[in-house]
């Protein structure tokens, strides 16, 4: 509780004690009612003076018809009618409700904010051999910072010394630690678990990953969902309407009764009107809807799913068409040797041996993938006369044999015939002493989670899945088959992708949305053209963070289904709260207007609904179990 809340609590307790004492006095001692009513004004002012003051200021500034106004009219009305004890009670309950709301909302806010607590407080800079602790803001690019076990990495940089396991959970929701050592890039916001690291910073704090993410999260609650906007607009019209209804309730029935020659029962109808006013406070709605959305966004954030605004939750929840970029999204975007096909006379492993040795000086991704598949460090002394044949491959002498490693054109130059592989991928043919030795296939692998990801999306109601890729048809179709995606369009240039997305937008059923999922590289136009753009594997990619509406911090495509689930649950909870709060209000308004319930019930209904709605809203934070999938 903060100071203001503590002060309010003391006021409430004091006023409660006085009220109880006065009720007891009135019960046991023959004090005249006039005197009692006068005495009740003391706790009334203690507990309600700020409400009265705010109502007065509101009227002066033309801001009538808010909660304070409602409460003031209701309680002052009760006092005029001589129902001072009731008036104090109503004010007391109102303040208890306000206090609860303020404490509960403050707490929820902090809980949700803590989910995204990645801001580093300090950085330890090494200067002339001495360590100095400074604000991360003040560290220039190229400084050497030291991060001890247990500390957050404050700025993006490259490790110059040390090994460590990093906990990236706050950024990615991934609980598996990441091993890093000298030469690796590290991202701010990760927590160093094990070893001491010396890092050379490559970005200023403002430009570091942690700042970008924080900015995104802080701005997320500013792009308000339609449901959320509806509630704030609703409150603006609701209160004046209710006030007019209350006025009508106080005036119209007595007049009709008088005309019909009955007793007008003015006092009874005025009390009903005041009860009506007490019930009508819209706080349950106004507080719980934004809280629901904030909770959903916070909960998603803790799973490594950054959502740029509550409006995107609404769009995502009705995604019916999901379009994927292939490389880096459904596939790993890393080349691997997928097949080793030795020609007759050559053993398995021999191809890799020759290829890895011949290619050992090359830095091409395909060469690297071959060396990785070989698994050992190729021996330098066995290799000589390495000659790179630009764009085609390598000639070298390995163990005294003339080795050719490269594509078909390279083989053709030496008049060597090749076998054509059936599987998709890049072909690397090998010849040893002018004899064809076989081929290696190097391809990008489909992510293990991709198939499961598509299944889960179907379960969430995504009816149509499409791959759009610049790759060749064979590779694209195999990827579609392996992942279970319905349609595939290959050999597309970036502008073709935009055209395809526009066509799909035209074809999608009404009331559904189209999401595009890409890895943020070259996808900007499509990401912005789709109803909702989802960027994957965004850790460290500024472009993706800027252009997408939803950013998945790690590479796991299953998170898309999880994000949809969270979006649905959040919307469901928001709707529950609207229906529940409005339903109870309308019921009690009717009961109040008919005179079936008094002010006590009215205030219970108001505070109770609010408490339940706030508790319900908090469920959004726990929208799903902690693992990334289920």
């Amino acid at each position: 509780m903060n100071k203001k809340q503590q002060k309010n609590l003391i006021r409430i307790l004091l006023a409660t004690a006085m009220t109880v004492a006065l009720i007891l006095i009135g019960h046991f001692l023959p004090v005249p009612k006039m005197v009692m009513n006068f005495l009740f004004l003391a706790p009334y002012f203690i507990v309600g003076f700020d409400v009265l003051k705010k109502a007065a200021i509101g009227i002066v500034h033309g801001q009538i018809f808010d909660e304070n106004f409602l409460m003031t009219v209701a309680t002052v009305g009760a006092i005029i009618l001589g129902e001072n004890a009731e008036s104090v009670a109503v004010m007391l309950f109102y303040q208890v409700g306000e206090l609860f709301q303020s404490v509960a909302v403050g707490k929820s806010r902090k809980n949700i904010a803590a989910l995204m607590d990645i801001r580093p407080d300090t950085a330890t800079v090494e200067k002339d051999g001495a360590l100095e602790t400074v604000d991360p803001d003040e560290v220039p690019v190229g400084s050497i910072i030291v991060v001890k076990p247990g500390e957050k990495i404050p700025l993006d940089g490259v490790i110059v010394e040390g090994n460590a396991s990093l906990n990236t959970a706050a950024l990615t929701g991934e609980s598996m630690p990441r091993e890093v050592s000298a030469g690796d890039d590290v991202i701010s916001g990760c927590v160093n678990i094990t070893g001491m690291l010396r890092i050379r910073t490559t970005k200023e704090f403002e430009e570091s990953t942690v700042s970008k993410i924080l900015e995104l999260v802080e701005n997320s609650s500013m792009k308000k969902a339609r449901t959320e906007q509806f509630i704030t607009r609703f409150a603006r019209y609701y209160t004046p309407i209710v006030c007019l209804c209350a006025l009508a309730l106080a005036v119209v029935p007595p007049i009709i009764l008088a005309i019909l020659g009955h007793d007008p029962m003015i006092k009874a109808w005025v009390i009903r009107a005041l009860t009506f006013l007490v019930i009508s406070c819209p706080c349950a709605l106004v507080i719980s809807i934004p809280l629901s959305f904030f909770g959903g966004i916070g909960g998603a954030g803790s799973k490594g799913i950054l959502i740029k605004g509550s409006t995107y939750l609404e769009v995502l929840a009705k995604a019916g068409t999901m379009v994927f970029d292939k490389t880096g999204t459904l596939t790993r975007g890393v080349f691997e040797v997928t097949e080793e096909a030795p020609a007759p006379g050559f053993g398995s492993g021999e191809l890799l041996y020759y290829a890895a040795h011949a290619e050992q000086y090359s830095n091409h991704p395909i060469s690297r993938s071959i060396r990785e598949a070989y698994g050992k460090e190729p021996a330098r002394e066995n290799v000589s006369d390495v000659e790179e044949v630009g764009g085609h491959g390598v000639r070298a002498v390995v163990d005294g044999k003339a080795v050719l490693v490269g594509n078909r054109k390279l083989m053709a130059e030496d008049g060597i015939d090749c076998i054509a592989p059936e599987a998709p991928g890049t072909e690397i043919h090998v010849a040893v002493d002018h004899v064809y030795a076989g081929y290696l296939l190097v391809a990008d692998r489909v992510k293990e989670e991709a198939k499961d990801a598509i299944l889960r999306l179907r379960a969430q109601g995504v009816a149509r899945t499409v791959i759009l890729t610049g790759d060749n048809a064979k590779t694209a179709e195999v990827a579609a088959k392996e992942t279970g995606v319905d349609e595939v369009k290959s050999n597309l240039l970036p502008e073709d992708k935009v055209r395809e997305v526009e066509r799909l937008l035209d074809e999608k059923p009404a009331n559904t949305s189209l999401a595009f999922v890409g890895d943020g590289v070259n996808d900007a136009p499509v990401l912005s053209r789709a109803d909702i753009g989802i960027a994957m594997g965004a850790l460290g990619s500024d472009a993706a963070i800027e252009v997408a509406d939803i950013v998945l911090m790690d590479d796991d495509p299953r998170k898309i289904a999880l994000a949809m689930k969270i979006a649905r649950k959040t919307l469901a909870i928001a709707k529950e709260n609207i229906v529940f709060a409005l339903g109870v209000k309308i019921l009690f308004l009717a009961l109040g207007a008919l005179g079936l319930i008094g002010m006590w019930w009215a205030i219970f209904a108001d505070v109770g609904v609010m408490i339940l709605a706030v508790l319900n809203a908090m469920r959004t934070v726990f929208a799903s179990p902690s693992d990334s999938g289920s």
Binding site: K53, K54, H61, E218, T232, A235, V286, I287, P290, L291
Partner: protein, 73 residues
């Protein structure tokens, strides 16, 4: 030019009122209040000086919501 300031406000409806009020201040191109993060983000109009505009924003907000606070630095 955009700047974000911390605020203290008790209820979501009051935050909305502050937003509406801030948006009417001269020199403010767009203001957005987030009740949940307790922040106001102000985009200033071309050539407007934040130091000159913000006191007016505070005043406008105080008019509609007497016990709100905006932390200027």
């Amino acid at each position: 030019m955009k700047k974000t300031y911390g605020i203290e406000v008790d209820c979501a409806a009051c935050a909305q009122k502050m937003e509406d009020a801030a948006n009417k201040v001269n020199g403010v191109a767009q203001a957005t209040v987030s009740f949940m993060t307790q922040k106001i983000k102000v985009e200033f109009a071309e050539g407007a000086d934040p130091a000159a505009v913000m006191p007016d924003v505070v005043k406008a907000c105080k008019r509609v919501e007497s016990d709100c606070e905006i932390v200027l630095e």
